[in-house]
């Protein structure tokens, strides 16, 4: 039986963070980009909870994670509404092709 310690959680969270950034940079579909943002937020959540558990900092970390989950939901709602609005206007949510504003 392997003992699961702080390092394991931190490795998971940094991998999630990197994958989230990778998704934001490479994905063309706006919904996929938003999923990347969710990954970044959740990686921070894992950090908060792991630090709070293994660092004996009390329950503050868990509370922060709860706040972040709520905010992530709010942000997803707003972002998806915006994507839906784009789709209604141009019938396309490929972020590379929505480029009427540029230098």
């Amino acid at each position: 039986m392997i003992h699961v310690g702080l390092t394991h959680f931190l490795v998971i969270s940094i991998v999630l963070f990197a994958l989230g950034l990778y998704a934001v940079i490479t994905r063309k579909n706006a919904v996929m980009v938003l999923m990347g943002i969710e990954l970044i937020l959740n990686s921070a959540n894992i950090n908060f909870i792991a630090f709070s558990k293994f660092g004996n900092f009390g329950l503050q970390g868990q509370l922060i994670a709860l706040f972040v989950i709520i905010l992530a939901a709010a942000e997803a709602a707003v972002a998806l509404a915006i994507v839906l609005n784009i789709y209604k206007t141009v019938a396309n949510i490929n972020v590379d092709e929505i480029d009427s504003l540029k230098d």
């Binding site: 908060f48 900092f57 503050q60 972002a79 784009i86 206007t89 972020v95």
Partner: protein, 500 residues
Amino acid sequence: MNTEQLLSDIGFIKPEIAIAITLVVIVVVDLIMGKNKKALPYISIAGLVITGLLVIQQFGTSVSVFKTSPSTSLLVIDNFGLYFKIIILLASLFIIFFSMASNEIKSTYARHGEYYTLIFGMILGMFLLSSAVDFILIYLSIELLSLSSYVLAGFVKNSLRNSEASLKYVIYGGVSSGVMLFGISLIYGLTGSTNLYEINSLIQLQNFPVVTLLIAGLFVIVGFGFKISAVPFHFWTPDVYEGAPLPITAYLSVASKAAGFAVLIRFIKITFVDSIDEHGFWQLISVVDWRSIIILLSILTMTLGNFSALWQDNLKRMLAYSSIAHAGYMLLGLAVLSNEGITAIMLYFLIYLFMNLGAFFVVMLIANKIGSEDIDDYKGLGRSIPYLGVSLGIFLVSLIGLPPTAGFIAKIYLFIALVDAKMITLAVIALLNTVVSLYYYVRVLRNLYLVQTEEKRPAIKMSLLNSIILFLLVAPLIIFGIYFTPIVNFAKSSLSIFGF
């Protein structure tokens, strides 16, 4: 925390409560009045005036409220935060008037209830941001500010330009606030605290791994850098500023930036400063050299802002790059790391409020009439719109920083702070940048007055209200350009941050 303490603390957040009440009143009135939305802007103005009185009443107090433990708290009320709240309120007041005059916003008459509600959501976020000293509250208020502004940037739903602006804003904003949250989680892991004061004392006492602290600090600065549109976190700025409805663009460029600067200055000063010597220079905790990082950011920001503005044909986009450049100048004041530098930033912001809002207001009034923000469409317009043209001239000359306008005073105080700190090279770089900026500002004026066109240019009739607003924006620039002692004293007296 006991109930009595909580109740007495509530007395210190009266301005925030007034904002929240106005928000609710707007929603309720919108529901009751049905299709008649005429009352909403006036309710907003009344709410802002009341909040302003409550903020002025608080000047001079210096307390920490909503304690999470005997030594830590969520908010502090001090003159520094109140000064930025005044700037935010002034900007909001002007924006309400802009919205009443803007054709873009008028076209969404049926949804005016949402519009003013979201504006007050932004104000509440900015108010909390400028007095927060706990990372969690900072993150929450940044999100409150951002979520409202994402929607406002795309408020005219059937315009592709608007929708695209809000999509870009939400993607960049989401990523940067996510990165910032990751940085906060690292700082929490290092120190076990989210309170800036507590983090400061822990960094002074213990030796934390330098690399982790550097990465965490940089990640947090990403979030703030996004709000103040510092390079390299500026990519959203030109697109969002060009796409969003003009009142919102003006609002983002002044109020949202003011809140970003307030929280950035507070973060640097509380978290990383060890002590302040008798000349007002801050001694940083010698773990990471934050000064070099800020200097690098500010040089990049002003240089890229100014040089990119050179080849912009859309005036809104040009002003977006110019606002990036101005953020760069103001970051210089922070890089000085002294009380004098912060005074210079605060003075700069008060003046920047009038000149930037003014420039956007004139662009909006002209766009209302000719339906374009293209600099080429301004050719020969100067003679048919004498008042607007002259005012735009004053705003642009002030943005360059030439006497006798107030923009000159703002720049001169910044340069004095730099020279006093013996940062001559930086002052020279800023000066050269100002020279570059001359070209693109003057190009607009040249098109207005010196270029002759065959076609007849339309005259723009201004309503009495718009003339008064325009006058209120021009007059301070001229008055403060000549008689600037009161605002300098006001900025100096608002320097105190709780705990220092």
